[in-house]
């Protein structure tokens, strides 16, 4: 089995397992599966201008300056057309309600009124988006969603080339050393209970202290509050008393096989709901943790 089929089969199996334990998340999982599968395939297939790892300033990185602040990770010359052509059908398959708008967007891209490279060339992307929205009758949120889906394979591809630099950077901050995003989900291993944060934008995992809040770095070894589902001790959400944020955390995650923390997080969407009802904010928006 080539690596792509392997990853794809593993993803399908992971989603199957999550559905077994949390059937109520079926709609979310089935909506995002095509996008995640497509992202995995694209990240392997697309050819992007590689960032030379030696160009990263390691001391600035150790000082807390993520890669994205040292060099752009999304370039105008990236193969956006190829990505969009593959991503749009995947989104439509997952989100049939967006079918019409996405087809309009596809047409706009085909006839050149919408060139994603303009967005990534512009210092400030907002005017470009406004221009696009005016040119074709599509909701801003649909464009956002397309961009969000299109960026994932590029970020994933670039993050993999920087993996060695990232994992040896001694990074001890709560936000992602690669793309600067805050974590959407964390896992705590079972045998040696280290905490690993996961960035759902670029897919990077990094180890982080269990007594600090990733968002506001508050130290709280006296009391680290969290919630868990009775009978499902693995499903937890750690909260920070000072910045009032929560972080979905798979406690005592299994260590026998690789995991996709995003899929596991989708299976715990009920915890997102409950935390938000209690007035806590997620540390970041990961597309599947904001409901209305």
């Amino acid at each position: 089995m080539t690596d792509i089929e392997g990853a794809s089969a593993r993803l399908a199996r992971e989603i199957g397992n999550v559905l077994e334990r949390n059937p109520q998340s079926r709609n979310i999982l089935q909506a995002f599966e095509p996008i995640l599968q497509e992202k995995a395939r694209l990240a392997e297939r697309i050819v992007c201008k590689q960032i030379d790892p030696s160009a990263i300033d390691r001391s600035r990185l150790a000082g807390g300056i993520p890669v994205i602040r040292q060099t752009p990770l999304l370039l105008p010359e990236d193969p956006w057309e190829e990505i969009v052509r593959a991503v749009i059908p995947a989104i439509i398959q997952g989100f049939p309600a967006l079918r019409a708008e996405l087809l309009v967007l596809q047409k706009g891209i085909d006839d050149g009124t919408i060139r994603l490279s303009d967005f990534y060339r512009a210092q400030d992307g907002h005017p470009v988006l406004a221009r696009w929205a005016a040119a074709i009758v599509v909701r801003q949120v649909a464009i956002d969603f397309l961009l969000w889906a299109a960026e994932k394979p590029v970020l994933e591809n670039r993050r993999r080339t920087l993996q060695e630099v990232l994992s040896t950077s001694g990074w001890d901050r709560g936000y992602c050393p690669c793309c600067g995003e805050l974590p959407s989900v964390a896992v705590i291993h079972e045998k040696i209970p280290q905490r690993w944060l996961h960035c759902s934008r670029c897919g990077h995992d990094w180890r982080f202290s269990r007594t600090l809040c990733p968002c506001c770095a508050r130290e709280s070894q006296r009391e680290m509050p969290y919630f868990f589902v009775e009978g499902r001790e693995q499903e937890t959400a750690f909260i920070c008393a000072s910045c009032k944020r929560y972080l979905i955390t798979v406690n005592h995650i299994g260590d026998l096989e690789e995991h996709d923390p995003d899929v596991l997080a989708m299976g715990m969407a009920h915890l997102d709901l409950l935390m938000q009802q209690k007035g806590f904010l997620p540390m970041t928006v990961s597309a599947w943790n904001v409901f209305d």
């Binding site: 001890d172 202290s209 007594t211 070894q221 006296r222 009391e223």
Partner: protein, 807 residues
């Protein structure tokens, strides 16, 4: 420990002797195995083959009580084979000092011995001094009365043949260990030693440890990463309880308890404050008065004034030359002289020596206050086996205490890391922390004395005792700050030209800033600095930085003194401050300051004749003590037989047992040396499934299932001789008592050939007591003698004589 647990990974050769690390310090053993993965050699020397031996490179059995002979032989080897690190020895130890001509050693005794008092007059154990008062030195180490030559002559008697005859270790094994460990004398090699109760439980315990310190000095292993002498202690906060000196002879911070003849503060301070004429010796204990006065201020606050000697007279005074240790305590209790006992988190009815005498003594108490998380044989002594309960008139209280995870506070591990821990859960029922119990009882006593008065009532009524929070509950943080110490008035501290101002009531950031005039208070000077001047609790720090890569973790918790992770670390550099082993750089002088671990003293390296200091700053003359006049039984460790051993004569000299130990004379303190009725050497130990007296682990059924009852481990040859089957219930007896148990016939005890004769050795764990589980066996210490080390009175559990008979 001079070093600490993680530092074991830096070692090239680890001698585990007097310890069973794999069983009793498994996570420390993990670091030992990390060293082994890097190619280090791990040697286990122990009378018995244990689970530690199974994972070491090899195991060398030796007869219990002969460690000094074994180590003396190693000194002999190091000196004759020229393995010592010459530059280190000449410059950093007192090897070059010239000893007074009156000093001599003949047939087992040093000069100045008073047989009646069993004590030495040490006036000849001194160094010849120059006119200026600085000790004379022969840097060529050739003068016959240099410490080096005296030491060489002393240990010339410890030839491999002689040592083999005493220890029962084959010459081949002796030379194998000596060569392997002796190789760490090279500047780029580090050797370390791990010991525990296997070394302290002897009448010569302190001298065994001193012999190893001398070896480490000779090999240049003291003060370097992967070196030092490391005690793997048994209790979670034994380092903290020792630092705060729940010890008869000391006050918190290892300050000396005053004796009756020092009837004024001045006399006491004069006696306890060492002096030196050598400008290059930092002699840090010259600041002793600052530590002592600050301690008195922490007790009695404003009531302690210069006029009343800061309350010096309120302190009790020991009689000169009299000791009040655990064995003396039970001796007096047995005589009916002690009426009340506080027994907090302890089980002496199982763990103290000579259990028969201890339990008889307890019956004579008027009252006993126990504070613990489980009941044990001490708190319930009055319903023990063979006790006529009705006739025991003792009034007993057993107060339920919170366990360690049910209260906030600090614990020191034996690597001197003082770690703050938080309260996870409320204790169940009426249990409260021992701190709270102590506060409430003393507050109540203060009220009684305030109302009714009594002898030396000021000491009680004036005591500062406000350590509760707003709800009136025990406040650990308040006590910790009082221990750290405060400025009692606005103070300006001048240091290298910079002036810093501190306000009254501000925390003292380091003991260097303590005052002898009452301007500061500190409950324990070595803990001063556990708080920053800004109130930061350094014991709770969790910094993961390790800039040296040696595993020092300077920002993880507070390490006394002043966060120095490896003591005597300036000795890891040459006289110009350049590290002897650049690959394992602990410290380096960069021209104006030290870089690396917190230096053992900020002064420039020794080569700077004007401002430089010697590395051993706590010693009066600043140098490592190969010649140690402070010891009760002699400046050079000498092998003496245990109080109760197999030999009638000491093969090395005419002096059979340690001449300076105190002998107890009660009717229950019988001794049977070289006695045909008790022909086998016996030792005691613990097992990995239980912990100390078992007072916590015996109540846990999954652990008890694996080690359910008392057993004695006997060699196969001895068992065959006695017709004893494996698993058979038998009896082990000494002249003091007998202990029924199960026979465990094993290959892990081999007979020794001592002075040509076969001597068998057996051993028992001491983790059992009659209270629980029923018929699990009672205290092994029915067998052990009331005798202890000459300096510390630590009992000799590890070597006595028994017989083994069928029931």
């Amino acid at each position: 420990m001079t070093n600490h647990y993680i530092d074991l990974k830096n070692s090239d050769c680890i001698l585990i002797m007097g310890s069973n690390a794999a069983e009793h310090h498994p996570i420390a053993f993990k670091w030992i195995l990390r060293a082994k993965e890097r190619g280090a050699k791990i040697i286990h020397v122990d009378p018995r083959y244990t689970r530690t031996s199974a994972r070491c490179d090899y195991h060398v059995p030796l007869r219990s009580g002969t460690d000094i002979a074994f180590l003396g032989g190693m000194i002999h080897y190091i000196l004759t084979e020229n393995k010592f690190f010459k530059e280190y020895v000449v410059n950093y130890t007192n090897a070059s000092f010239i000893v007074d001509s009156g000093f001599h050693f003949k047939d087992g005794l040093f000069s100045g011995y008073d047989a009646k008092k069993r004590k030495y007059n040490k006036e000849t154990w001194v160094f010849e001094k120059e006119g200026s008062g600085i000790p004379k030195r022969d840097m060529t180490l050739s003068h016959p009365r240099t410490v080096f030559q005296l030491m060489k002559r002393h240990y010339s008697r410890y030839t491999p043949d002689k040592v083999s005859g005493i220890t029962g270790v084959s010459k081949e094994n002796l030379l194998k260990v000596y060569a392997e460990y002796g190789a760490t004398g090279a500047p780029d090699k580090a050797g370390t030693e791990c010991y525990a109760l296997g070394w302290t439980h002897h009448t010569t315990g302190s001298q065994i440890i001193r012999t190893m310190s001398m070896i480490q000095l000779l090999l240049g292993n003291m003060g370097i990463a992967g070196g030092g002498v490391n005690a793997l202690r048994g209790e979670p906060n034994v380092q903290g309880s020792t630092d705060h000196c729940i010890l008869y002879g000391n006050l918190p911070g290892y300050l000396k308890m005053p004796t009756a003849s020092l009837d004024t503060l001045e006399k006491y301070l004069h006696k306890c404050t060492p002096e030196t004429k050598d400008p290059q010796s930092a002699n840090y204990y010259q600041h002793y008065p600052k530590f002592f006065v600050s301690l008195l201020k922490s007790f009695w606050g404003e009531k302690a004034t210069p006029e009343n000697g800061f309350g010096y007279h309120w302190l009790p005074k020991m009689d000169d030359g009299v000791a009040y240790s655990l064995m003396h305590l039970f001796d007096k209790m047995y005589e009916g002289k002690i009426k009340g006992l506080f027994a907090v988190g302890t089980d002496p009815a199982v763990s103290a020596p000579n259990t028969a005498k201890v339990r008889k003594a307890l019956e004579k108490l008027d009252w006993l206050v126990g504070e613990n998380i489980f009941d044990n044989e001490t708190h319930s002594f009055w319903k023990g086996p063979g006790v006529d309960t009705k006739s025991v008139k003792t009034e007993v209280f057993l107060l339920p205490a919170s366990a360690s995870m049910e209260k906030e506070g600090s614990q020191s591990n034996s690597g001197r890391w003082v770690q703050w821990k938080y309260k996870a859960a409320e204790a169940d029922g009426d249990a409260i922390p021992v701190g709270e119990i102590t506060i409430r009882i003393m507050a109540e006593i203060q009220k009684l004395y305030a109302k009714e008065g009594g002898p030396n009532a000021e000491a009680i009524v004036n005591l500062k005792w406000d350590y509760t929070d707003r709800q009136g509950r025990y406040d650990a943080l308040k006590v910790a700050k009082q221990i750290n110490g405060y400025f009692l008035k606005d103070t300006v501290i001048e240091d290298k030209g910079t002036k810093t101002e501190f306000k009254k009531g501000q925390l003292v950031p380091t003991f260097g800033m303590l005052h002898a005039d009452g301007a500061t208070s500190s409950g324990n000077w070595i803990m001063s600095g556990s708080f920053g001047a800004n109130g930061e609790n350094k014991m709770a720090k969790r910094g993961k930085e390790d800039p040296t890569g040696l595993g020092l973790y300077p920002n993880w918790s507070f390490c006394w003194p002043v966060n120095r992770r490896i003591i005597y670390n300036r000795a890891s550099c040459d006289m110009n401050g350049k590290p002897y082993n650049p690959k394992r750089k602990l410290l380096e002088w960069t021209g104006d300051k030290w870089v690396g671990d917190v230096p053992d003293g900020p002064w420039p390296p020794q080569a700077d004749k004007a401002k430089g200091k010697y590395p051993f700053i706590m010693k009066a003359d600043g140098l490592g003590a190969l010649f140690g006049p402070g010891m009760a039984e002699g400046p050079f460790p000498e092998h003496y037989e245990p109080l109760e051993g197999p030999l009638a004569k000491n093969p090395l000299s005419g002096q059979l047992i340690n001449p300076a130990i105190e002998l107890f004379k009660s009717d229950l303190d019988k001794v049977a040396n070289a006695d045909a009725r008790f022909p086998y050497v016996c030792t005691t130990y613990s097992c990995t499934e239980h912990w100390c007296s078992g007072a916590l682990t015996r109540w846990q059924l999954w652990l008890l299932e694996m080690q359910p009852e008392l057993y004695v481990e006997i060699g196969e040859k001895l068992a065959k001789e006695k017709g004893i089957q494996n698993g058979e219930r038998i009896k082990v007896s000494s002249i003091r008592g007998e202990v029924p148990c199960v026979a465990m016939v094993t290959k892990r005890f081999q007979p020794f050939t001592i002075e040509g004769k076969t001597v068998h050795q057996v051993g028992l764990p001491f983790n059992y007591g009659w209270l629980f589980p029923k018929d699990g066996g009672d205290s092994t210490n029915f067998l052990t003698p009331t005798v202890g080390d000459a300096n510390t009175f630590c009992p000799e559990y590890k070597a006595f004589m028994v017989n083994v008979t069928k029931l």
